[in-house]
Amino acid sequence: MVTSTAIQLEPTGTPREEVESVVVRFAGDSGDGMQLTGSQFTLATALAGNDLATFPDFPAEIRAPIGTTFGVSAFQINFGARKIATAGDAPDVLVAMNPAALKVNLVDVKAGGTVIIDTGTFSDRNLKKAGFGSNPLEDGSLDGYQVVTIDISKLTMEAVKAYGLSNKEALRSKNMWTLGLIYWLYDRDRETTTNWLRGKFAKRPDIADANIAALDAGHIYGETAELPGGMHGYSVLQAEITPGLYRTITGAEALAWGLAAGAKLANLRMVLASYPITPASTLLHILAGMKQFDIVTFQAEDEIAAVCAAIGASFAGSLGVTSSSGPGIALKGEAIGLAIGVELPLIVVNSQRAGPSTGLPTKTEQSDLYQAVFGRNADAPLVVLAASSSANCFDIGIEAVRLATKYMTPVMVLSDGYMGNASEPWLIPDFDSYAPFPVAFADHEQIGAEGYLPYVRDEKTLARPWARPGTPGLQHRIGGIERADGSGNISYDAENHQRMTNLRAAKINGIANDIPLQGVEQGNESGKLAVVGWGSTYGPISRAVGNMRDLDHDVSHIHLRHIWPLPRNLGDLLAGFDQVLVPEMNNGQLVTLLRAQYLVAAEPLNKVNGQPFKIVEIEAAIQSRLDREFGEAK
């Protein structure tokens, strides 16, 4: 919501309107560099002291034919002088680099919003490719918007003429021209982008220069040209942000670093075994570049081999990690069951995407909770964690390592495509402030009268000891057939199976005592309505609850990061609310778990169109629940 609050004077004397927050979407062809533009703008905005959130939206095709709607790539950013929770429901400003980008994105723009259009691309051919029957610049389609038409293509060509690039190369700077204009619009500093361009094109200084010239030209255009549509500059004040050192971080980065940090705290080598799949591959790519952290990455022949190699690595005394997305996780189910049976640490990262089956690989969804909690043969409990934001992935990564190694158990970490790709500002923690939890491998002291017993448990955690092959005297054999309590030898004994089944369940349930009590993110600890979320719905729920609370509604936000076991106070907490609403980007999964566990009449709010919730959608749902309650009270 853009709220004008004051008028400032530009250095040049032009007035700059002060706004509290803005949503800008850059949209163009896959080849137009919209993701780069977006991330540069994100950085400049962070440096300007705003809070922010982003939503990159990639096309499904690798490189669709130029100018087609299915080749449109977009990047949305919401930034402001206050806490920003989501990438924004609807853009205040849409930058459309071609007709297809306009076609796909216009519907989302807020009524009366600004649409900046590169008219240089609005040829008949491109209009047709985008599926326009007539030219939207002329047929009234844009009525109701502030339309700013600029021939950005032409202006860019002019700006970079001096550098003797080919037409094609020259046109590639269009995005920088546009970025320059938007920098002017929101009063951002160009320096980091200039430096970044110099670094990126270190081997082609002519291209670096051309891009910088385009960036400057766009900026100057804003300063000097009389802008169409009466557009003028804005300023967005700094947000109140906890002081400290910041960076932007995507969920994939945060998770990779969190896992590396966890391995360090556990004093273990990490072996990540994975098989590429969108959107999970990024984690593999990042960790593949971190070999100096004693991280082994292994691109296996498939997901089954990946999880098995990870379990093998854990058997050998390293931290085995595997990562995939829904369909790949499905393939890992059998092997995860083995890890549960042999009780070895294992981390399984699921970057969820829309399904079922191949589904919509580039679209987000959080529909793998059932699979995480229930998706294996037999009684096979494990730990399930869900990160609530890009930055939260760091701490979730560490928590996963802590629980996996302390309890000798697989831990499933749920992330999603949205969170993985979206970046947000992150107050960089001091790693030295994290308490180490080094693994104490079994040693010769564990050798008793009957030799080493790999299934004698720690009384408190119920974890079995971890003996590293290579250690003299601790030779033992484990496997997927039921193991005798104590020795771990094959046992077909009926009562042993009952006991081991109970122990496996008790071990996982007991972890509830080693995780934080469930807190309330916003609002009271009891009341009329609790909105219970998990995962990347954090942003829209927190803003929606915040907005409704600002309107004096009695609603609280509870957000789960521990999905299994659930926090031990959760049942009591939920019992304190008249109604419980569970928004999920699936057809209702956490809600099933809560109803079954606590017999609480939790209601689902589902959305499965591959897009994150809009704040208004959750606000509306809250309103309707509160209305209903009033209705009943009458």
């Binding site: 092959p469 290579g470 030779q475 997927g480």
Partner: protein, 342 residues
Amino acid sequence: MNAPAKPSALLAKDFASDQEVRWCPGCGDYAILKGVQKTLADIGTAPENVVFVSGIGCSSRFPYYMSTYGFHTIHGRAPAFATGIKLANPQLDVWLVTGDGDGLSIGGNHLLHVLRRNVNMQILLFNNEIYGLTKGQYSPTSKQGLRSPSTPMGSLDRPLSPALFALGANATFVARAVDTQQKHMPGVLLRAHAHQGASFVEIYTNCIVYNDGAFASFAEKNTAAEGELVLEQGAPMIFGKDRDKGIRLKRDTLSLEVVQLGVNGITEDDLLRHDETNRVLAGLLAEMRNPDFPVAVGVLYCKAAPAYDTAVHEQIAAARSAKGAADINKLLRGGATWTVGD
């Protein structure tokens, strides 16, 4: 990693665990167990540095009977577990035990990839041409026409040759041994152990319950001499009770023939000499089948190539020396940062 004192003079029995062996009486796997335990004693490795990994099947129960570390995993996936173990700790001496079903049916892909990657381990494929554990269904190596519970009218699948498969997978070491041939087996296993990379050993083993006599034409006392060709590097290929038969190359058709020494003036010099570095020759030998040919046993193929796990850790070492000691705080502060003041 631990560098344990080398125990002196280990015996085969030092590699036996305290677990009762539970194969059917008369199963060929018993002999292989003995052969492997003897080989390990001969090698003299400390049991704590050895890991036996297996899938599921009668054969895959193997690790329980060894006094080493052992991991009985899930059906077909042992190569992946073994790869993970080597990636975590390349110093471990990893032995993989699999069956013709475990390794070539459900696990064919993992076997393929561990072979082509050349991960340093010994792979023992117990080939009894049947699914033993699940009670006798035909396997990918079963002879065509086999009647089994799932093929009451006879199986229709064309069988795989494990050795040919391994060669097609770019394996660097391919050998064969026979359950009944206790003298021959340890030599082959020693060679497999010595080879850096994935050493593939097919071991013919008799499932006395569901496929008894599958290898009777060469694996029994009275048939071995005529039915089998024992390969030795550089040696002419002679076989037969009276050592009077040999293998000759039919050069123009790129194929082999059995010849009688002394007949038509054929001498040892006319015979092929084994060259285990020649993959094409190995392919020809792998295809020799009774009754037209003797079955080739011993090392069919061996060619040096870097081991995958070693190379992986070389890259890690290179990255560490190039990028310096790992520092999480530095990692978190890499790239663009900004400070928000109080």
